[in-house]
Symmetry: C2
């Protein structure tokens, strides 16, 4: 199982510094929506032209204008996000462009119901991202949610999960063996030593 570290709500300078530090330690580095909307993809690309080891995910949350946003986004990142709430047309367009560029597309499943979910689980190479909205107040059991999603949509091959994941939950998800990646934000980047914390996550996930 891959570790994706989400960097969010910091200055671009701090984000670049964190990304460089974590590059060799983790599998995927995510620059969150706050960075996209505060600084823009062009400035991000200029400040962080390439990573050595990790893939770069830009959480651009496309909901329309799919081809435009993915075309621009793939100049900077390896994985881009699109909202499951986008139209079928948008999802199809960004999927085609993603396949053509041999990159990856991450579908953010936030706030979509079972009917809509059933209509969009047919993109075999897409990563399906399950998480709670940051604005949601209630609890979230990542392992239980992943198990339920897998039970309901057994055809989905690439599942990613986020939401308050600590060391114990990361280990549980790794042992469960369903999710392909787990996303950890502040539990890594808001600690005194993000690199050491990321290493701890990697250890429990691969033990």
């Amino acid at each position: 199982m891959d570790l994706q570290v989400a960097i969010d709500r910091v200055t671009l300078e701090r984000a670049v510094d964190l990304a460089r530090q974590l590059d060799d330690q983790v599998d995927i580095i995510e620059l969150g929506t706050s960075l996209i909307k505060d600084y823009g993809v062009l400035q991000i690309h200029q400040a962080l032209p390439a990573l050595r080891h990790a893939k770069l995910l830009l959480d651009i949350k496309t909901i329309d204008e799919g081809e435009y946003e993915f075309d621009k986004g793939f100049a900077a990142g390896d994985i881009l996000t699109v909202m499951g709430a986008a139209s079928r047309g948008t999802l199809e367009k960004v999927y085609a462009l993603t396949q053509q560029r041999q990159k990856q597309m991450f579908i953010d499943m936030m706030e979509i119901n079972d009917v809509k979910t059933g209509q969009i689980v047919d993109f075999p190479q897409a990563i399906y991202g399950i998480h709670h909205a940051k604005d949601a107040q209630t609890g979230f059991d990542a392992a239980a949610t992943v198990a339920a999603f897998h039970h309901q949509y057994p055809g989905v091959q690439h599942i990613s999960v986020a939401g308050g994941i600590d060391l114990a939950m990361a280990q549980k998800l790794a042992q469960q063996g369903i999710a392909e990646s787990v996303i950890v934000g502040s539990a890594i980047v808001k600690t005194a030593d993000p690199v050491a914390t990321a290493q701890k996550f990697m250890e429990v996930m691969h033990s």
Copy 2:
């Protein structure tokens, strides 16, 4: 009826130039999502600190992290957009913040069904934005869509409409008297003389 001109998919320099030219001519200047995601709100604010006459709408398309995005966005703009597809919690948070700042919130009604629409038409001061996704292929009759929306949700006081609106449709919408604002993009900004074209729109809307 107000005229909102949408500037999209151009360089920030060109966007600022267009905004300055159109400032005295139109009611609202929109900087589209492409500008937000390409350049970021901070850079936009730096390049365009204030308009003389028009209100500035930033099409930030918030779908989560509502307070963060609206707090940052209102430093730069007068009107911010949130997706109707966002959670109820996000909509309530950004509405409260908008009221507190005495600014305006624009709910983008793209890709939400009647059930969800019925659940979110209770923000009296919000502007409800009806339009076709840019990725949608089929035709769009703005006046008919506005009439149908008004018939179904008569309590909604602030309606905005976008989607291939030309001079004839702008005039029709003004005469219809339901929509509070009409959004025109390339039919103004992609012409040889955007200022003269904007003036023509204003004339037919107020004749």
